[in-house]
């Protein structure tokens, strides 16, 4: 199956060994989108790596930016102002909703429910407009920067986010009406791809796919970063660990993410959006026009990037697919010595043989959709 099967969400090739229509063994072949991002990152400075991270999980790009920038900040030992943290939370939760939109649309389309994808992409468009208002880009914003964010938000941004928060609960209701009690949907997804929590953890499955099996592991709760402990939200978990439970978990995450965005936009603190560190944060463009020192600093930061002390650090955030981690080795220069990306989708694909064995060919599509993989992140 694959690499160009429409249901494999990228270029994933699966060699299926069959007994009639039952699957007895599966061998996934990945790497067809391998661009060597980890190798390229060893050749460019810390600033220039940010756009590369956009291309990992391109359905939820802001989350990758956030993970990478927080890792560098952890090694630099700098703190980010509260306002920037709240804006980062808004952007990353919007990215999570965007990622889940793509999952919902394509998962339902694969199983045969055509209509859902149109509604999902209609609402995804609203988030893309918000991204564009904030950063100028729709899909790959690179909005989160080392030491803060690229620039402060505009009043239009706040209006767009508020409109979205007001509109979106109705849209989620709509998705539920289309699928949750749909008899065909339930028959295709219930008791398919069942995995227990302990086994899922052993296979390295994290994120919504693990929570569908009943383990409430969410990095936002276990080790809160970026002021996530200021917000009141729940971590939805499933019971049986089948495709339907993973579906319900993600559907509830739409609501919880929206809840966080609502709290963040209403309690947005005033203040600066960049860390108070002259060798990391870009000076504002207004200062650059009057002050030669600011001009030189802006030039140096843009061309050379910050110098990061020698050391090793691992930082994980909750990506839209699971624990997204970056292991960074710095050697005191302005270029990363080694950047290892812990991609949640890589381990989800590694678990595919276990999930697929014993099922029918038609269930392959349902199971691949339910673990929500993005090949850009697997192959790196």
């Amino acid at each position: 199956m694959g690499p160009h099967h429409p249901a494999t969400h990228g270029v994933l090739r699966l060699v299926l060994e069959l007994d009639g229509e039952t699957i007895i063994n599966v061998t996934p072949h990945i790497g067809q989108l391998h661009r060597g991002i980890e190798k390229i990152a060893e050749s460019m400075n810390y600033q220039k790596v940010i756009p590369l991270t956009d291309r990992l999980d391109y359905t939820a790009a802001s989350l990758n930016n956030l993970g990478y920038c927080m890792t560098v900040e952890k090694l630099l030992g700098i703190d980010v102002p509260k306002r920037a943290q709240y804006i980062r939370v808004i952007m990353s939760e919007l990215a999570r909703i965007m990622g889940h939109h793509l999952w919902l649309g394509s998962h339902a389309l694969d199983i045969g429910a055509m209509t859902v994808v149109f509604y999902a992409f209609r609402d995804r468009e609203m988030i893309m407009n918000i991204n564009e208002e904030a950063s100028g880009y729709r899909l790959t914003p690179s909005y989160v920067r080392i030491g803060g964010i690229a620039r402060d938000i505009t009043p239009d941004f706040i209006t767009l986010v508020r409109d979205f928060v007001k509109w979106f609960p109705k849209a989620v209701e709509g998705y539920h009406t289309l699928l949750t009690n749909n008899i065909i949907w339930r028959k295709r997804t219930m008791s398919i791809g069942v995995i227990s929590g302990d086994e899922a953890l052993d296979l390295g499955i994290t994120g919504p796919s693990l929570r569908g099996s009943g383990i409430a592991y969410d990095v936002r709760k276990t080790s809160p970063y970026c002021s996530y402990d200021d917000f009141d939200f729940k971590v939805p978990v499933g019971k049986t660990g089948d495709v339907y439970d993973r579906y319900l978990v993600r559907m509830e995450e739409f609501r919880q993410s929206l809840n966080i965005i609502d709290q963040a936009i209403e309690n947005l603190p005033e203040g600066p959006v960049k860390a108070d560190n002259p060798w990391v944060s870009n000076p504002d463009i207004d200062d650059v026009l009057d002050d030669i020192g600011a001009l030189i600093r802006r030039f140096k930061i843009q061309c050379e990037g910050p110098r990061v002390p020698a050391g090793e650090v691992y930082h994980a955030i909750e990506g839209s697919k699971g624990e997204l981690g970056f292991y960074l080795v710095g050697d005191g220069s302005n270029i990363p010595y080694r950047l290892k990306i812990r991609s949640p989708c890589y381990y989800l694909t590694g678990a595919l043989p276990r999930l697929l064995k014993g099922h029918m060919i038609a269930d392959v599509i349902a199971i691949i959709g339910s673990i929500d993989i993005v090949l850009g992140e697997i192959d790196r």
């Binding site: 990945i30 790497g31 391998h34 980890e38 060893e42 090793e312 691992y314 276990r354």
Partner: protein, 167 residues
């Protein structure tokens, strides 16, 4: 458990295993020695107080000019206890490392990736094949002596030699 407790628990069971310990940015990094490595890893998973049930990732680093040349960093997390640990195992060039895929199944693909990109061989691995590059690919791209543009990149290419139809 906090970092000091984790360290003392490991040291009670394996007094000589930890060669070096370091706390950076709030995370505990321990460098462990060769002999007790497989037993130590199993202990980290099975011990009821440590219970590192999730092997998040294995990061391989090539310190080109150093001996031992490579380092493998096992990033562990415990969902029950909510603590993290990085176990560093130094690797000589050409040395074989015992696989931990029998302890954590997620190590299967993590070790295949390291074998592919860094060329470190794992003994007792169930299926050690290249994963991100193709089967007859030569070299290991993440080694520091591997050129960024690849080995077969033609730097002498002359664009004037392209034949273009003149319209």
């Amino acid at each position: 458990m906090d970092n000091a407790h984790i360290l003392s628990r490991i040291k009670t069971r394996f007094p000589a295993a930890v060669l070096e310990e370091k706390e950076s940015c709030g995370d505990l990094h321990i460098t462990v020695e060769k002999e007790s490595f497989p037993d130590l890893m199993r202990f980290l998973r099975d011990d009821d107080q440590l219970s590192f049930t999730l092997l998040s990732d294995i990061a391989g680093v090539d310190y080109n000019s150093r001996t031992p040349r490579f380092a493998l960093v096992y990033i562990l997390f415990s969902c029950n206890e909510n603590h993290r640990l990085q176990v560093i195992r130094n690797v000589e060039d050409g040395e074989e490392i015992p696989s931990v895929s029998a302890i954590w199944k997620s190590a299967d693909w993590a070790e295949r990736e390291i074998f592919d990109l860094l060329g470190i061989v794992f003994s007792d691995h169930p299926d050690l094949r290249r994963i991100l590059t193709w089967d007859n690919f030569e070299g290991h791209p993440l080694r520091k002596d591997y050129p960024l543009l690849g080995k077969d990149f033609d730097t002498t290419f002359d664009p004037d030699t392209i034949i273009v139809d003149k319209v």
